[in-house]
Symmetry: C2
Subunit: 359 residues, 2 copies
Amino acid sequence: MRIGILGNGQLARMLALAGKPLGLDFTLYDPNPDGCANLLGEFVQAEFTDLEQLQAFTASVDRVTLENENIPETTLHSIPQEKLFPPAIAVSKSQDRLVEKQFLQQLDIPVAEYYPLESETDLLAALERQQAPLIVKTRKLGYDGRGQVQVSTREQAIAAWRELHHAQLIAEAKLIFEREISLIAVRSHSGEIRCYPITENTHHQGILHTAIVQQADPIQDLAEEYGKRVLTELHYVGVLGFEFFQVGDKLLGNEIAPRVHNTGHWSIDGAEISQFENHLRAVLGWPLGSTRAHSPSIMCNIIGRFPDKAELAAIEAAHVHDYQKAAKPLRKIGHVTLCSRDVRVLQDSYQRVHALVRD
Amino acid sequence: MRIGILGNGQLARMLALAGKPLGLDFTLYDPNPDGCANLLGEFVQAEFTDLEQLQAFTASVDRVTLENENIPETTLHSIPQEKLFPPAIAVSKSQDRLVEKQFLQQLDIPVAEYYPLESETDLLAALERQQAPLIVKTRKLGYDGRGQVQVSTREQAIAAWRELHHAQLIAEAKLIFEREISLIAVRSHSGEIRCYPITENTHHQGILHTAIVQQADPIQDLAEEYGKRVLTELHYVGVLGFEFFQVGDKLLGNEIAPRVHNTGHWSIDGAEISQFENHLRAVLGWPLGSTRAHSPSIMCNIIGRFPDKAELAAIEAAHVHDYQKAAKPLRKIGHVTLCSRDVRVLQDSYQRVHALVRD
């Protein structure tokens, strides 16, 4: 059984590493030759818009999935839909922040206040109306805090408009929230849904820094309720990441990602079955595996440069993941997961990792 | 960092799968082109006796290790010893059952009674002296029960001699033992030793069938004491598997394997750090990782033919490992590990796996 993956970054790499023990083969498709999964399968270097190459790729594999939601819609629709998981419709919902917010609202999932922007005037009016800071974001192709500017004054708004207005924009109210959490959920062909314990996430310079697994969290049920609405509505198959802001006992939906998700990487080492294996199980039409955490777990991203690996390995309970990507400022090049049933070990190890991975 | 592995079977495959997340690259060296790890690294197809190819291979990697103890001694000695882990001496101790038994005895580790055989007369004399069944074994190259014949009578002894005498032979007393256990131990460059919880092993047609992890077993300490004597004496670096027969509160050493071991496969899914990662850490000169089991675990080999994988995946707590080897009677082609902190789940899943993997 051969799985085709659109994209060739660390998510494709971890999918392939989870799939090899299951006896799967992989073909990676990406315009960029410097991906980090191509040693784990066949590699096709071609543009996503090259429909001829895409057709040959699709014909050569049993299923197609993706590690990147920014695949052009025409690409997704050119793939036989019975081979593509998750479905194209789910991917397109997440490609545009405006469409995404409207979709969540249709499902009665609260979101932060937002304003579609067609002009500088729209932005100034939104700022006036909100009477509080806004975050101006590109509707498409933003990630890791890129394509986002916070504005509190008319001057900042005018500058932000000038900087970003070449793209379609949206302004969102900047929330005062207790915490950001995310839910990793997976749905099978048969409609079974399983959810991992939520993580609490912290960011640094707009990039996910740590995801701490929250076992038996009181807000888990609400997050799962919202996640299930999304998966069911989209007839989704595979893993979906869903980020929320928690305000009091409310959750506001922030983003859905139609793929395995950085806040689920802990599951490789800390869950009974990882998000990567469960995504593949769903794509293959197999039964889903347990999403339970076997140990309390914390994941820390490695950003920019890799610390000495032997030093990381010396930290009790540390699982080192090096994506073998070239070091570059603000680039995610690996992660460390700490898993231990001994909370003191976990805390002590967390401090030691934190000291080593600081950029 | 590139690791060269002599051999290209499932052990090499699982080493490579454990090493990719650590950012390692692999070169596999094997005369057989049909190995199951070569998609995970560079592959050199050459005889172990081809010293020219071997030299090029050795020069192209940072460290050399092995997945198979039956590598010719001249091959091992042709590799710069500062690159080779475990050391050649450790491998040669395990290649000959007579040398192995004498070595264990030197370390005051009890073994079953044994008789080196130079002639049919020796065998008949041994049978006379033992007054009980003997197992006649080839001293070298036996595995999975091959090259072994049990004899209880003069007629059987004569037949066994005829069948096997082209090779050097040893006769061992057939033991009445409570159970077979094995210890997986790992030693680092710095001399640190860590041991996994022992497993209790069962066999079927001479081939390992299941390994059940025994947590806090009263015989653990004695097994570790013997394991440490072996590792220390050999200045060993890497993982070593050590099989014992338990008779009352005594352990008799049966076999040492200078490599990752089938009875340690459960550690991929059930231990904090797997035997494969710990072997690589040792080979690299890194600190060792935790050998604790995070969950009670049972490993079942898949022999001969692969059951339906979706059916296996449906079993709660099952981790499916398909080595992608061609199906063949009596061939190990995969394993399933069950890990769960819920003992009822573990027992129920074990019965379900057992029903599916029966050959």
